[in-house]
Amino acid sequence: MSVKEKIYDWKERLKDRHMLSIIIVAIIIIAIMGLYIYKKQRQYRQVSENAYNYAFYELVNYIEEVEVYLAKSLISTTPEHGAETLMNVWRDSNLASTYLAQLPINVEGLSNAQKFLNQVSEYSYSLANKNINDEKLKQEDLENLEELHDYSVELKNTLNQLSNDINEGNISWGELDKKGNVAFAQEVSNLSSQSFSNIEENFHEYAGLIYDGAFSEHLTNPKRKGLTGSDISEEEARKIVENFFGKENFDEINSNGFSENGNIPSYNFSIKMKNGDDNNYASMAISKKGGHIVYMNYNREIGEELINMEEANKIGLDFLKDKGFNNMKETYYMKQNGILTVNYAYNQDDVIIYPDLIKLKIALDSGEVLGMETTGYLNSHEKRKIENPKITKEEAKKNLNDKLKISSEKLAIIPTEYKTEVLCWEFKGRIKGNDFLIYINAENGKEQDILVIIDTPNGTLTM
């Protein structure tokens, strides 16, 4: 039988059972569905393409603004105008960084450009504040601004080149998108033929700025004042873990290795608890230097709540005393899923030292301490020389809003954005049904910070 005959025969047999029409109908349905899906897919593609273009042109626009305002800030002479210009730099670099993150390019491909924008934003903000306080910018500040301006010009030129490429159709976002999809751990080299890598190339030299900001290089590795003592071995660390939990409470301790590159080099352990199911492991990190507990966390089902917050707080304080942390005071608490998380701050000569922070997680069913976190304390704790405040409490009060009903007043040391510390008068008070914490600088009487206390069913939040 020839092929032709076969097909004919097949057709005849289908006809016999009226199958031919059924198959034709099915094919038509599939074709219509296919067409519909194709159109939808094109639509989605267009939507994302538009979103990418939008982000890109916004980015170009804001980088241009950053460049212009940085140029202006270099020649501005009055503090008022300087502050205004720098505030514009701050706003526009912030927006530029938002739009940069939306482009479909791998994370490490643009991380230096991102860092540049973050630092420009923060640095200009801190300089603007200087201007607002009527401080003149130092020669060093101006040099930094000039350097930042040079980089912004480069970034602007690269982006203009890219914009040309996009207009000529050399770059399609969809293509970049596919490559970016696989994982954050993708190599940029895929794109090396594309002009996008130019951004990163130009920024390879951007080493970062040295200034007093949260994003500055030298502060990402602060001196850890509370991390005292001599180095210990893993065996000694294991002993500390054993004593912490008590032999009767766990089955075995497994080492999770030593994290040499961590913020605080430490030995990690995972502890199989008794009375737990197979997945009930607690984890703990002990610092190599001094054998401090850096971190402890244990997750288990929480039963009925049997103890109240005051009792839990007492348990926490006793626990801290037992571990050698005296003079701690609770400052903030939050209740979630039957667990109370309490922040404790160090107290020296009746001054609350907020940077020396230890957090505990306390189960409200049995009062067991389920978690401990001491990095704040280890980073900043030391015996401080607390100067007598230059501003008396009464003088500080004069700077407060008249309507504030004060409920407590004391001295406190608070951390600043720039990881320094300031001595302040802390006033807790109420205005129009809102509770506030107001900090008046004890050195110069200026308002240092205002926090709003939000009472939620879960605890008090300060913001």
Partner: protein
């Protein structure tokens, strides 16, 4: 004869339409675990953890949350939780939609997200992590390792 054909065609059409309806209803009724008293940031963080590490141990889940929060504080990354999570190509769970998988009732990801938000960081300051079995990139191996938790290597 003709009648039979019509019947079959009718049946086909109706079954296709019913199939579509079922799909639409199933799609619209996707159930998300109830969120009580959680801030949008915690919810988003929990969903990212769910997408990236729901098969990991509790510590591994807190660790993923901690990496996201470490990035928020790091100059090389956006400064908000949403910015970090939705940064293009940053997390596989975002690219492949795993982040939208509903959180199961008995999941610990909310607790893990809350612990991370409260400052617990088992990664000792890591800003990257990867699964050595599936990582395709050699660059990531050059990053200094801080700690291994479950399937993930955490690094700076």
């Amino acid at each position: 004869m003709r009648n039979n054909v019509r019947k079959v065609i009718k049946f086909l059409f109706i079954s296709v339409i019913i199939l579509f309806l079922i799909l639409i209803i199933a799609y619209k009724n996707r159930i998300y675990a109830a969120d009580k008293g959680r801030t949008p940031d915690t919810q988003l963080l929990a969903r990212a953890i769910n997408g990236e590490a729901r098969g990991e141990s509790y510590e591994g889940q807190v660790a993923v949350g901690a990496v996201i929060l470490n990035r928020v504080k790091h100059p090389n990354f956006p400064n908000t939780i949403a910015g970090v999570i939705y940064e293009s190509g940053a997390f596989t769970a975002v690219s492949d939609g795993q982040i939208n998988v509903p959180i199961s009732e008995d999941s610990t990801v909310y607790k893990a997200a809350e612990d991370a938000m409260n400052g617990w960081d088992p990664t000792n300051g890591a800003i990257y992590y990867f699964n050595p079995d599936t990582a395709t990139n050699s660059w990531i191996w050059s990053r200094p390792l801080t700690v291994r938790i479950g399937k993930h290597r955490f690094c700076k």
